[in-house]
Every structure is written in structure tokens, then in C-alpha cells.
Symmetry: C2
Subunit: 116 residues, 2 copies
DNA sequence: AAAATATACCTTGACAGCCGAAGTATATTG
DNA sequence: CAATATACTTCGGCTGTCAAGGTATATTTT
């Protein structure tokens, strides 16, 4: 993991929801997907991952059911709720805003101040 | 303040250093600058600000001296050190990387996985 | 002259998210 | 049969943020 976790913090929920926007899935698989999509640069630690699911569940952004695997360990399948979808939209908008804002604050060329 | 602080967390030190890259300054003024540059969307709370200075100082990224104001409250002037400049470069690079990474993970169009 | 506001810094305690570490359980591979 | 992979869970510590309070000085308002 090469990315400082404090840079990711506050984005984990959004990243998980993004996976669930594609298809429902379970914790372990979601984490693997994130790992491979990031080219191994980033993984959620298990405690972080499952903590995030608890949060998302409490917020009503995801719902889950236990898979009925005939083989292997049982899986907790999550799917995103309508509320979760709406929230995901807002999260990504906020995230893009925050990015632009930070960008404007760390860029060293002399620019004008904003006024809105 | 309209930006979730968890999205900013991990960027505050970088944002402060960015200000000091332009010119040396003191806490109160730096915070005002950040406020106006962000169009009031973002301000560091005082406890956060002064906590950050302590961190930056301990890390050797900034040094300070007491101003000799003849009038008004005394000011603690900070300037960025060589070590701080180097670190700022790395921070911004890491930040841009993290941005691209998150972007790739939350964008919903079907893209290929990275492999590096 | 007293009160309010602005400047400028400092500290404490609570809280939330991240993570290392350890544990449970099942299935596969060497 | 030991090691590895899958899959989820919990605990305790750490760190950054913030609300709330404080100190001190100068200016502006009433």
C-alpha cells in the first residue's frame, strides 16, 4: 500500500459504494477488486473494510443477506440501496469539489482569489 | 465550511506548506488566506491549525521566530525549511496520485484494470 | 469610559476513522 | 497434515479534527 491512508480517509465509503454500483458483492471480493483496480497500490485493511460496511448499513446505504454457499466460508452479500445511490452521487460531487479546491490551494502559480 | 473535514484530512499540512512556499507568514494570516482562496468554503479550525504547526515544526518542515510587533498581539512567524520544500513536492505528487487513483475507482465506466 | 469586535495564540477533552493483531471457520493445495 | 486461501469479526491504540474554553492586546462602537 503506497498511498497514505489519511489521503484516502473519508473516501472509503464512496469507493465501496462505487463497487456496489456495478453489482452486488461481498466484502472479501470487493476488497480484491479494489486492490487489482488500483494496481496493488491500495487496499483496505480488513478492520477498515468491515467497519465501513457497518457504517454504510447503519446509514441505510446498503443492505445485505447471507449467501447460501454450499462450499467455503459463508458470505455476506451487500447491495446498494436507493438511498445509497443518491448518496453516492452527492459523495462524488463533493469529492470532485474538494479536489478542485485543494488543487487551487496547492498550485503555486499566482491566481486570483475566488469570490462567490 | 461546506467541505467534509474527512476529505481534507491528510491535506492540511500540505495546504499550509503551500502558503509558506509563497512567503513566510503567521498562523492567523495563513488561515485567512486559505479562507479567502477557498471562497469561504473551507477554513481550518484554530485547534487544527495550531496542531498542524506543531506537527510541521516537529517534522522540521517549518521554523519560526517571534515577530517584534510594536503594536497588537505578538505573532509567530513561520517559514518553510529546505526539508519542508522537498516534502511539499512529494506531498503534492502523492496527492495527485491519490486523486487519480480514487478517480479511477469511483468512475463507473467499464475500464480495464491496471497492472504495474 | 465601557462594551464589543478583531487580531493572535494556546490548551483540553471528546470523537471518528484507520489499522495491527488476534481470533473463528471452512476448503484447497502441497 | 501443514500451509495457504477464503471470509468474516472484534479489540485496543493511534492520529487528526473540532467544540469549547482560555489569555492578551488594539481598535471601533455605543
Amino acid at each position: 500500500m503506497s498511498i497514505a491512508s489519511d489521503l484516502i480517509r473519508g473516501s472509503t465509503d464512496m469507493i465501496i459504494l462505487a463497487q456496489l454500483m456495478r453489482n452486488e458483492s461481498y466484502g472479501y471480493e470487493i476488497n480484491k477488486k479494489i486492490q487489482q483496480k488500483s494496481g496493488k497500490q491500495f487496499e483496505l485493511k480488513e478492520a477498515t473494510l468491515y467497519g465501513a460496511f457497518r457504517r454504510l448499513e447503519e446509514a441505510g446505504y446498503v443492505s445485505f443477506y447471507w449467501g447460501d454457499e454450499q462450499t467455503g466460508a459463508r458470505r455476506r452479500y451487500y447491495s446498494i440501496t436507493e438511498k445509497g445511490r443518491e448518496s453516492f452521487q452527492i459523495m462524488t460531487e463533493d469529492w470532485h469539489k474538494a479536489c478542485r479546491l485543494i488543487e487551487s490551494m496547492i498550485s503555486l502559480d499566482e491566481e486570483e482569489n475566488r469570490d462567490e
